[in-house]
Amino acid sequence: MINYIWLALIVIGILTALLQGKTDLVTTAAFDAANSAVELSIGLVGIMTLWLGLMKLAEASGIVRFIGRLLKPIMKRLFPQVPEDHPAMGSMVMNMAANLLGLGNAATPLGIKAMKELQELNEEKDTASNAMCMFLAINTASVTLVSTSVIAFRKAAGSVAPAEIIGPTIIASVIGTAVGIIAAKILEKISGKGGR
């Protein structure tokens, strides 16, 4: 999909430029964009390094596990088909705690582990279970406490208050997640299959 979009941006861009006689602008834009991509990424290095260092501490000291325990009561309601003491519950909780802290790299392996454990409970192996769909709806909306890379991009672009979007981002992602959960609950009734 992304391959087509990328190609379309370039092809449509160049064709439009040819039609409007702006080809010289395109040349400058391409080189400028390549340059500024590198500059921006370099601006990102410091903040990302600081943040992932901090988050490694959060992981090592058990803060991720602690947040996981706080989420437990909510999990029972979200995944009624998954037995409370099933390993899938633990993996899903840890995955969400890692996502909450913006630990994408730690979250993905935990999420894949959770999916494998959910697959054990799944009766039709090639078809998603209700629990899987719910887990993915929550994951794709993903509440993030601090969206570090966005803050770093803002800082690199010269913002006077790069962190001012933290609060609004939390609110927007909580709303997105809540709607995702409701949608998954409603759609699982419509899409039938009652499977586990």
Binding site: G13, R154, P168, T169
Partner: protein, 178 residues
């Protein structure tokens, strides 16, 4: 009141986390400096690893914008997006969000550069970009890992959540910053 609380969270989140996490880790007898550096190495690699992806995306977006194609697209869709308060300039980002993380990063930086990070559009773009994951990527990776082909309502539920997140970002940006 609501806006005050949201602003307080923004102002204190980072200092509090930078204070509390190392303190708590030290209490738990974690070797704070060594473990911090271990994670920092990952952070460094992550930041460097995205450079080629960002170059690829920003060049394509840069060409698209310089040619005037972006203006045509924005002008065409503006009346539609303005119905719910979203500047037409942000439609490409809103659409890209669910498809590609590097694409969304490219469009975010492009918007921050073109309109300024502290403009309404820049702030709205930031909130939008931070408030959801790349739905199709997550679904591909997670279902791919267990060999599930019939994804049932996972995609629609994920996309509904994305749309809600985008509308929420538009709403709260207006509430807080305009």
């Amino acid at each position: 009141m609501f806006e005050r609380v949201v602003n307080l969270i923004s102002a204190y989140a980072i200092p509090v986390l930078i204070l509390v996490i190392p303190l708590y880790a030290a209490l738990k007898k974690v070797k704070v400096y060594e473990v911090f550096c271990e994670g920092a190495v990952d952070g460094f690699h992550t930041a460097v690893r995205i450079i080629p992806f960002l170059v690829a995306m920003l060049v394509a977006i840069g060409i698209f914008r310089a040619s005037g194609a972006m203006d045509i697209l924005v002008k065409f869709f503006s009346p539609l997006t303005r119905l719910f308060g979203m500047p037409g300039e942000l439609l490409p980002l809103a659409l890209m969000k669910s498809l590609s993380g590097s694409g969304a990063n490219g469009l975010l930086t492009d918007a921050l550069k073109t309109y300024g990070p502290d403009s309404l559009i820049g702030r709205m773009a930031s909130i939008m970009a931070g408030s959801s994951e790349t739905t199709f990527y997550v679904i591909a990776v997670y279902f791919g890992a267990v060999g599930v082909r019939k994804t049932r309502h996972a995609v629609p539920a994920g996309l509904i959540a994305d749309v809600a997140g985008i509308l929420a970002a538009v709403w709260i940006a207006h509430l807080m910053f305009s």
